[in-house]
């Protein structure tokens, strides 16, 4: 549910950014949502759909959400494991350990904004 306040923060950033670039319209907003950010992409997207039309600046803006590839590290052998599925791997492919930790992916990043 905190997705809504993050979208509000995003809107403030977009307003500032548009002023800096003397842009009148935001066209496209690229956001990367990490798997472990605690942010649900659908809720974030819903918040954007609700708030964007309220301001002329963002009325026509499209939100593009990207998910970075999941990465896990193994505590036993330091092997870096890349996994693209939803769940973490059962065993480390290198040493068979089950002792994993997630690498990064705990943030939500405003990557790119297109405007005119």
């Amino acid at each position: 549910m905190h997705e809504f306040s993050l979208v509000q923060g995003l809107m403030e950033q977009l307003t500032k950014l548009a002023a800096e670039h003397e842009a009148k319209r935001i066209l496209r907003v690229h956001v990367e949502i990490g798997r472990f950010s605690g942010v649900v992409a659908d809720s974030f997207s819903f918040g954007f759909t609700a708030l964007a039309p309220l301001a002329p600046l963002t009325r026509d803006a499209k939100l593009v959400i990207m998910s970075p590839t999941l990465q896990y590290g193994c505590r036993v052998c330091d092997q870096r494991t890349v996994k693209t599925g939803d769940a973490q791997p059962e065993h480390c492919p290198c040493c068979g350990s089950q002792d994993f930790f997630s690498l990064g992916d705990d943030d939500i990043i405003l990557q790119q904004v297109e405007m005119e």
């Binding site: 549910m1 950033q13 950014l17 670039h21 939500i108 990557q111």
Partner: protein, 246 residues
């Protein structure tokens, strides 16, 4: 450098279209405020604990009992976060310590800006200038509060026995970001299918450095361990001048 016009700005132009590459976290504003809070806490010599758990896990009762046990030797203050009502603040106020209730009006977590405001309000309360140990009781929610740094020194996550021992595995972020796991309401262990081993193993799998204390504020079992943990924080902080989260 801009590929279209060669100017120093990082944008591309076609017609009057521009593209700005930012690579900026949406948590950046909250993190910056949290850093300011932490500096302020350190200047004031405060040790600050952010308490995160589901609703009804016993955070407020734990605080009441903690104030009863430590209130005469340690100057305690509390910031209460709830969606609605002053009820928790009234319970704490009845114990005679300065308290501020923040009602979020629907928001599911406290953020650094609210805590900043809460701290200034607390300083206006009687005794609010001389606090040593500040508890921030976050909104009851095991999900959203985990994503927001408040500037605290220590983060405590609580799971009560009736909630079940699968909570660390199901809500990993709260456990990954905490320093202490408190398993509460252990007096109810005979009545619930709660596996202490599962809860501890799952929590440590997510966060191997996590300290774990099991206690009951009602029976008093394990409660001394919790008080010792608090006393240790207080002592460490006195020795080093600060008590930073890793």
């Amino acid at each position: 450098m801009c590929e279209s016009c060669g100017c120093a700005r990082d944008h591309k132009v076609s017609g009057n279209r521009q593209q700005a590459n930012l690579n900026k976290s949406l948590f950046a504003a909250n993190r910056a405020l949290a850093r300011e809070n932490r500096k302020h806490f350190d200047r004031r010599g405060l040790v600050v604990i952010n308490m995160i758990s589901s609703p009804g896990s016993g955070k407020t009762t734990l605080l009441e009992k903690t104030i009863e046990a430590l209130g005469h030797t340690t100057r305690i203050g509390v910031i209460e976060g709830d969606i609605e009502t002053e009820r928790d603040a009234e319970r704490i106020r009845a114990k005679g310590v300065p308290v501020v209730q923040l009602t979020t009006g629907g928001a599911c977590h406290l953020d650094a800006a609210q805590v900043h405001r809460g701290l200034h309000l607390l300083e206006q309360e009687e005794g609010g200038q001389n606090i040593r140990l500040l508890f921030i009781e976050n909104v009851g929610n095991l999900v959203c509060p985990a994503a927001f740094d408040l500037g605290e020194h220590q983060r405590m996550v609580a799971v009560s026995v009736p909630e079940g021992s699968d909570k660390p595995a199901k809500y990993p972020k709260a456990f990954a970001t905490a320093q202490l796991l408190l398993i509460s309401k252990t007096d109810l262990l005979p009545y619930f299918d709660f596996s202490m081993d599962e809860a501890q193993a799952e929590a440590r799998r997510i966060n191997p450095a996590l300290e774990i204390i099991a206690c009951s504020a009602v029976s008093g079992a394990g409660f001394d361990q919790w008080l010792d943990w608090l006393r240790r924080l207080d002592a460490q902080s006195s020795a080093t001048g600060k008590n930073r989260k890793k």
